[in-house]
Subunit: 342 residues, 2 copies
């Protein structure tokens, strides 16, 4: 493993000169620079980024701390982040809290000295705890987390209004007995979506206590909900699942029970995962540009790294868009909407 010292010796110059030549700092004569570059080639020298970032106090890396790396949702976020980071020649250091609150502290601490800034998505962490973990000196942007009290910039999805809009749309299509399949209890997204649903049901539908079935965002829990619905003979003309994944499970469950969608019952989801438009009938949902969650956050972080001081006031709220497809359409529409056909 060759070091700058080796290169300097080989070229017959000092380490300072070698460093300057390699970094193109100008105050080096052409012959000297040539000699250094020749030594670099000969010894196959590659600068040690670790050492460099120690003195420069810059790592050209951002830490990304996500609750999990599972599924399309997170890969889309990472893709969005990478898209922007790559343009600025920044690297991504992945930290994973694997769902454990305790590991979050460790993950954040491990980033010290390795990154210039942090993108953190702490779905079910209390703001006070988070404040304890974070280093105020390290530029940080939160993902999908409203941290108003911490005065940190964040990027979030307007889950509340998204759910409200979808419920409104279902009501507009004539549904009256809409059942909601909720997400995990402690999950903010899930709670906001549920709130949007109940509020819309109350204000527009005039239903004060709509039916809500438990779920955990998994396909399986969607299928489970279908069973509850059918066997429990819960009256329903539409089901609004808190995410697409559950809607997929739900539809499969309903099909098994011989219920037709949207004939007997309409179904709607949330997220617009790629699968949504390939189902048959295709799934109506609220489209969230997940990658933008990542790229927007990364852009905010870049501004902070450039010296700007950003706070909660710079938060960006992404509004999901209603995508009406087959599962909420009339009979005719259902058969032509996307995907394969029998």
């Amino acid at each position: 493993m060759t070091t700058l010292r080796d290169v300097a010796r080989e070229a017959g110059v000092s380490v300072a000169t070698a460093s300057r030549a390699i970094n193109g700092l100008g105050n080096v004569t052409a012959p000297t620079r040539a000699a250094v570059m020749a030594a670099v080639k000969k010894l196959n020298f590659v600068p040690h980024s670790g050492a460099r970032s120690l003195t420069r106090r810059k790592t050209d890396t951002v830490g990304v701390i996500l609750p999990d790396l599972f599924g399309e949702f997170f890969s889309e976020i990472i893709r969005g982040i990478d898209l922007v980071a790559h343009e600025s020649e920044m690297h991504l250091l992945l930290g994973n809290m694997h769902g454990s609150t305790h590991e979050t502290a460790a993950a954040i601490a491990a980033m010290r000295g390795r990154v210039d800034g942090l993108l953190v998505m702490p779905p079910d962490l209390k703001p006070e705890l988070l404040a304890d973990y974070l280093d105020p000196a390290l530029p940080t942007v939160l993902l999908n987390y409203d941290a108003g009290s911490l005065d940190l910039p964040f990027v979030a999805v307007d889950n509340y209004h998204g759910a409200y809009t979808m419920t409104e749309a279902l009501l507009a299509r004539g549904a009256r007995q809409i059942v909601h399949i909720a997400g995990p209890k402690h999950n903010r997204d899930a709670r906001d979506r549920q709130r949007g649903f109940t509020d819309a049901m109350a204000k527009i539908g005039g239903v004060l206590t709509p039916a809500i079935l438990p779920g955990d965002f998994s396909e399986k829990s969607g299928a489970q909900a279908a069973r509850l619905l059918v066997q429990g003979q819960l009256p329903a003309d539409a089901v609004f699942a808190a995410n697409d994944q559950m809607a997929v499970g739900l539809i499969a469950g309903l099909a098994e029970a011989g219920k037709s969608v949207p004939g007997d019952i309409m179904v709607a989801g949330f997220d617009d995962i790629p699968l949504a438009r390939h189902l048959n009938p295709s799934l109506s949902t609220m489209q969230v540009h997940i990658d933008r969650l990542g790229s927007t956050a990364m852009m905010l972080l870049l501004r902070m790294l450039r010296g700007e001081t950003l706070g909660a006031a710079n938060a960006t709220i992404l509004t999901p868009e209603l995508i009406a497809r087959g599962t909420t359409a009339g009979e005719a529409a259902a058969t032509v909407a996307g995907g394969a056909r029998l």
Copy 2:
């Protein structure tokens, strides 16, 4: 930003003692350790991992260099890697070559001094070039790349036999005029799959020059192939797409043209993306456990980091498994297979 020096001063000890106390090195008396820990708490000290890794010559990080971060395929790989890395308390540094051969060199070089080992997936890079870029002193495992000549361990999918098996299955179901939709020309996976197809057609089907349509692994190119097939009136009783993505596009295209699957024509893919089993009819395909690609590679790398010397002989070949679903089934089977039903 507090340093170890600050902690030492606060606790009234030397930096060496502070360091030993913090790292639990034993030869520190209980009162001294307590004093140091109190100072750590008081000053909110978090060790600077960058500096630490410089002296330790260990970063507890592995570099992951992928051609792109797009899509399920890569997110699954990363998830597999993370699963194993997390157990060993290793971090993941993402480098992205964004498809450009030139950037590959830069991405690898940037890893020097930041990682203890490398996982690289260089789909269309010549071995000689790759050898130039890689640092022989840095433990490296290749993903989905047979680098026999470089004597590096690698993990790959047996694309050839996978394609052979699928073709065999289609022939067994009575297909005679099977058309293959190929992947990108320079892509190794694509070429191996095509070879498996043509060999099976020759050896089992007795067809020496089967029809092959161009594709690029995208859904769009699958739809394009459907158009060529239908409008060009190419005789075909089955289509074997080089990946599921194209199969999805193909099926949509065939549906548009009024062809029924599998009634008029059978369809098969490769990869078993999650979408595959949700299509209606569900897609027959070769299942590849993509996450295992990542986790297996990471396990090999860990062994190298522990001091073992591994080479091409330690390569692991993952064999894909045939998943027969609706798109290659008889009429009856097609209607009950997974997904929703009209």
